[in-house]
């Protein structure tokens, strides 16, 4: 069934080395249109390196990756036109207002008339009335919403979120989770989300992948994963099972 779906992100043999340290080892991955892909892994597993490469911020040592059929290395500008990116610990110009920050970033995303777009996106995120306040006065959760606003304002085809709930309180996490699902459902944007929080994945994602020391050790839909590991109490147990290299117990087709 998946074969009939459009591939939005295609990664083949992606490797990133920092001297002798291999941050990412021969990564092969396909993400389909409309998916919310949760990229799991402990700290230092290579999740951020993968996102940095896919957002064209970093060059891979070897391997190729395409986003919407555009090569990330050779057609980086075309790739950037089609992606939105929310880095971990998103930051802005603190001296400028939310509107001024969004106006600048929206124009860099290729939009010409930004005022209505900014109003529209802030209304979509249910975050109005703060446009003229300086970002320096914003809380972490508010900055995160502006971060999402700048990432989706140009209606990208793929949205990359790097640890989006990092540093947020439980209310902020819940709110952000709802926003992510809303973006995916209402705007049809494919989402690639780095996280190490399993609660986030279980409530948000449609597909999961597990990265361990630069190696992708598992990828399947959340539904199949829960079926396969039905004996495990929670997704946390499943993750620990996978991470402890129990891949031999898995069906060969689901092992990458």
């Amino acid at each position: 069934m998946k074969d009939s779906k459009e591939i939005v992100i295609k990664i083949e043999g992606l490797t990133k080395k920092y001297g002798n340290f291999i941050a990412l080892r021969n990564l092969n991955l396909q993400i389909f249109k409309g998916e919310i892909f949760g990229f799991l892994g402990h700290n230092g597993a290579g999740k951020t390196t993968t996102v940095n490469i896919l957002t064209t911020l970093l060059n891979p040592t070897s391997g190729i990756a395409t986003i919407c059929n555009f090569d990330i290395a050779k057609e980086s500008i075309e790739v950037r036109r089609r992606i939105g990116y929310l880095p971990e610990n998103v930051k802005f110009y603190e001296n400028l207002t939310a509107f001024e920050n969004l106006d600048y970033l929206a124009k860099l995303s290729g939009l010409t008339k930004t005022e209505n777009k900014i109003k529209e996106v802030l209304s979509f995120l249910e975050f109005t009335g703060f446009e003229n306040k300086k970002i320096g006065q914003f809380s972490r959760g508010m900055k995160q919403k502006i971060g999402i606003a700048q990432a989706i304002i140009h209606e990208p085809e793929v949205l990359f979120l790097d640890e989006p709930t990092s540093g947020l309180d439980p209310f902020g996490i819940k709110n952000l989770r709802e926003i992510i699902i809303k973006i995916n459902k209402e705007k049809g944007i494919t989402i690639f989300m780095n996280t190490h929080l399993l609660s986030e994945v279980s409530k948000t994602c449609t597909t999961i992948g597990v990265l361990n020391h630069g190696n992708l050790i598992y990828k399947d839909s959340l539904e199949n994963t829960l079926k396969k590991f039905k004996d495990d109490v929670s997704l946390e147990d499943i993750y620990l099972n996978i991470d402890n290299n129990i891949k031999n117990q898995l069906d060969n087709r689901s092992i990458i």
Partner: protein, 318 residues
Amino acid sequence: MTSRIDIVAKNEFKTLFKENTFILLLLIFILMTIFSTYIGWSAKNTIINVYQETVKDLSLKGIKEIPPNPFTGIPDLSILKNMIVYVFLIGSLLALVIGNNAFIRDRRSGVLRIIFSKFISKQTYIFGKIVGIFETLLLVVFISFLLSLFSTVLISGHFLTPIEILKLSGFYAISLVYLLIFSMVGLYFAIDSDGESIALLIPVIIWVLLTFVMPQITSSLAPTALLNPNNIQAATPHSNFFHILQMIIKPFSISESYKEISSILLEANSGINTISTLQIKFQNAVGLIIMFSYLVISMFGSIYKINKFNSCEEELNI
């Protein structure tokens, strides 16, 4: 591509005018511009008063040979000569901060990851920054030009001739080039350095070197020439060592070239040149070429460096 450059340039311009350091340095520079005319006028008046007192005194003593008024034949523009010092001292520091902040601000705020994931290349981004810096400095220089023009007219009591306005414009044009050099040096090290402190420290050392050390060596042991735009006082001692040193270093001493070209434009040295006109023309042409070379090298250095810049490691060490 042009519109992207314009977007970055406009944002640079807007952000700068919200920064306290920039506003403070700009205000100091503007105040100094106003004061320079006043100081020039005040100094001229004091000397004229002393001259008139002396003339009165000499007349009373029955002395018939009265020395000429020292300001006879000295053009009105010369009262602005202090501006030369303010540009190469305060102006260059202001320019250095503008250039340095243009990139350090983005690194410090952490927006570079977002910016470089947008529909803009690193080259376009840095071109935008350079245009923004140019526009800011152009505004600073233009404000200074207008203030100099109005204050000179106000103080001298008559309008400047078209030639004088042209010379004043020439002075500010050369000042803009001089300031741009320092802003590009500031920008280059903001991209190249790992830490925020070192990113500012290195350009400041270069500023000290160009503003104080090199003129000190080339004006060799004539300390009054260091800040004074009148190059008549810059006579070198009769020593082969200093002459050779001066010959080698002077062409690269852009602050001296700037001082000399500016003092010619503001007619601060009229009638008191110690070297031939041809030699002055040649030296200043070389000085001008060297100034532009500094500008081109530092500008292309920044463009080269941005291509090597890793936006994933943007976090600055303080």
